[in-house]
């Protein structure tokens, strides 16, 4: 058996022996998709809706009827002006409001852009985003039908969250979840696995052997690359089957970008392990250095646009930010490299830098 194959076999045995960790690594992403998915699907039927229609006519009534027709909404008020909305929101009488422009029908008829304002109570952020997306879906359906009848119309819905500007939806969180899962598997597991070799003293023996640092590293990370890859497939498939999250672009492109992102995270894991000597410290390092930025600063949960500028600047060096933009592009917009090359290039540059730094940091001696 060659030295390298021996290394791969050894890593595979470590992973298979540690059943609990393996189970966590495989089931955690699956569970997370379900948790995130259902968390935002709570209480989305019979939303108490108010419609502000300053100048009712056939066009606005048709739109109103569409809201009345779906189970998701219960139209509790139709108002001539938006003046009382604040009070209604505050008392909880309504959860969402649709505010039409005074000259909505007029503009539509003239082929101009008509505006609709969607206001949702987002004090409970997940249902807020759900309500918003439901309302948008109704408006878009209306728009499509008019277009089908030959009218050249454009309705620009404008969403506004009340009480909390957060927006999240199944479609938005799945790409972020992929980044999160890959970070845990790649960075955290690699860092822990390498520092474990230091703790058990086996790193001493590996170093004294003729194995080159690059062989040790590659042998170590290849296994996690495979697991990471499998996790991406699982998450994408589950998101699609359970929550009908679309994959509009190329699966190949998504997986390719996934591999790129895995390499980035693996390098981070190696870097962290080179600075630590115990699994405990490596774990804290990986949590603080990779997972927290991935959760908080990547646009996964909190939109980067609404952050103050110092955080926006920091977000630029978080690899997950770029990966999430790419993954959302591929999955939701169905765009390819022709649009995503700048982000891909940034991610590639980060990967090259980090791999170089990780290889350099991996010493050929103990101290």
């Amino acid at each position: 058996m060659s030295a390298f194959r021996g290394l791969l076999r050894k890593e595979a045995l470590h992973i298979l022996r540690d059943r609990r960790t393996l189970a966590v690594v495989i089931f955690m992403p699956i569970l997370q998709v379900i948790l995130f998915g259902y968390a935002i699907r709570t209480d989305i039927s019979r939303i108490r809706l108010a419609i502000v229609d300053p100048s009712p006519d056939a066009a606005t009534i048709e739109l109103r009827n569409r809201f009345t027709a779906t189970d998701a909404f219960r139209v509790v008020r139709v108002l001539p002006s938006a003046g009382t909305l604040d009070r209604l929101f505050a008392s909880g009488a309504i959860q969402e409001a649709i505010v039409l422009d005074g000259d909505f029908a007029n503009r539509l008829a003239r082929g101009l852009t008509a505006r609709v304002l969607v206001v949702a109570d987002a004090s409970e952020p997940n249902s807020g985003s759900a309500m918003e997306s439901y309302a948008l879906a109704v408006i878009q359906g209306y728009e499509r039908d008019i277009a089908a009848r030959g009218g050249a119309v454009r309705i620009v819905p404008e969403a506004r969250m009340r009480f909390n500007p957060t927006r999240a939806s199944a479609n938005l969180f799945v790409p972020g979840l992929i980044a999160f899962v890959l970070t845990i598997i790649s960075a955290l597991m690699t860092a822990i696995s390498l520092t474990r070799e230091k703790e058990t003293g086996t790193m001493e023996i590996l170093l004294v052997s003729p194995l080159k640092p690059l062989e040790i590293i590659v042998g170590k990370v290849l296994a996690y690359l495979v697991i990471g890859f499998v996790s991406v497939l699982l998450v994408v498939a589950e998101a699609r089957l359970v929550f009908a999250v679309p994959l509009r672009g190329s699966l190949m492109l998504l997986l390719g970008e996934g591999v790129l992102y895995i390499l980035t995270s693996l390098s981070l894991g190696i870097l962290i392990s080179s600075r630590t000597s115990s699994q405990r410290v490596a774990m804290i390092g990986a949590l603080a250095g990779t997972m927290l930025p991935t959760i908080l600063l990547s646009g996964f949960i909190f939109p980067i646009e609404s952050m103050p500028w110092p955080l926006r600047a920091i977000a630029n060096v978080v690899p997950a930010k770029w990966f999430i933009v790419i993954a959302r592009g591929v999955m939701l917009k169905g765009v390819g490299l022709e649009y995503l090359w700048p982000q891909t290039l940034i991610l590639l540059g980060m990967t090259v830098l980090l791999v170089a730094a990780a290889t350099r940091s991996f010493r050929i001696r103990l101290a």
């Binding site: 050894k10 470590h14 022996r17 058990t200 001493e204 023996i205 003729p210 001696r365 103990l366």
Partner: protein, 311 residues
């Protein structure tokens, strides 16, 4: 050509001098012991010799190759067993062994003549995870792993520390057999009584060499008459012996006390008689004082001087 040459090797960590200008030579085929307590610098020396660490000053060669510049060649030719258990506890005995064989492109079968005697003792446990082995078995497995690529020289850092007396004895028997195959073996230990197992030994304390020689000559170099003092109630005996006006050193030693006198040129019989009388006057009617042969430990204690003081 020497198997190991060390010239004025020094290494310090922050404000601790781990090795202080150490020089020694080890011939091919020797079973060489490096003997000293924790913190003496044994592990630092080993790590430099197996290319894991770089000295601050001085030079070292192993198998004629420089340990700093020729590290890739040396790493193929050197066997090393670190001080603490350094195998994968979650892998079985056989998996550990075949992994380390594969790292060097070797196979267990091809090395059977060398590791066979050890491996046969491990064979009944070959499917057991290394973490579940007893202390002695762990050390045997580690030894096997260090031998599996047929190294030309073997470095064993404290292979017997924390191992019971029986397993220790078995390990030394194995090393003896390996020496008979012509392998050069360098082994460190904090147990002074293991020095006799080695061809030559170096005594080391706080980074300094206290002497290098064959064990018998080191023991014989003690250079003063040494007396074994025996009586019941050893603690009272210890105090009473210390109170003898001419006492230089008094140490418990196994079932006796070892005593040296501060006077030079006094016949041993007279020292023994005077000490016996002193003890009998203190109520030790059964006190026996006999001249005895010094051991390596006596020499070590005599040469280490004051034990390390608190910082």
């Amino acid at each position: 050509m020497n198997a190991v040459t060390v010239e004025a090797l020094s290494k310090r960590f922050a404000d601790v001098v781990a090795l202080d200008a150490i020089s020694l030579e080890i011939a091919p085929g020797e079973l060489f012991g490096i003997i000293g307590p924790d913190g003496a610098g044994k592990t630092t020396l080993f790590r430099i010799l197996v290319t894991l660490s770089v000295p601050d000053a001085g030079r070292a060669t192993v198998l004629g190759r420089d340990v700093v510049t020729d590290l890739w060649e040396l790493r193929r030719r050197v066997g090393y067993m670190p001080g603490r258990f350094s195998l994968y506890p979650d892998l079985s005995v056989e998996e550990n062994l075949s992994f380390f064989a594969s790292v060097f492109g070797a196979t267990i079968e091809a090395q059977h003549d060398l590791i066979g005697p050890i491996y046969d003792q491990l064979a009944p446990f070959k499917d057991r995870r290394a973490g579940a082995l007893s202390g002695g078995m762990k050390q045997k497995l580690a030894l096997c792993c260090a031998l599996v690529h047929r190294p030309e020289i073997l470095f064993l850092d404290e292979p017997t520390t924390g191992v019971d007396a029986v397993s220790r004895r078995e390990l030394w028997e194995l090393l003896d057999r390996l020496r008979n195959t012509g392998l050069t073996i360098v082994v460190s230990t904090p147990y002074m009584d293991e020095a006799d197992r080695c061809g030559r030994v170096a005594l080391i304390q706080r980074g300094k060499l206290l002497g290098i020689d064959v064990p018998d000559r080191i023991a014989a170099s003690f250079g003063r008459p040494l007396f074994a003092v025996r009586a019941a109630e050893r603690y009272r005996l210890l105090i009473a012996t210390r109170e003898f006006a001419n006492a230089a050193t008094v140490f418990p030693f196994g079932d006796v006390l070892h005593y040296t006198d501060r006077r030079d040129g006094v016949p041993p019989e007279r020292i023994a008689r005077e000490l016996r009388e002193h003890l009998q006057a203190r109520g030790f009617a059964d006190a026996e004082v006999q001249e005895t042969r010094p051991t390596i430990e006596d020499t070590f204690m005599a040469r280490m001087g004051e034990p390390e003081r608190a910082a």
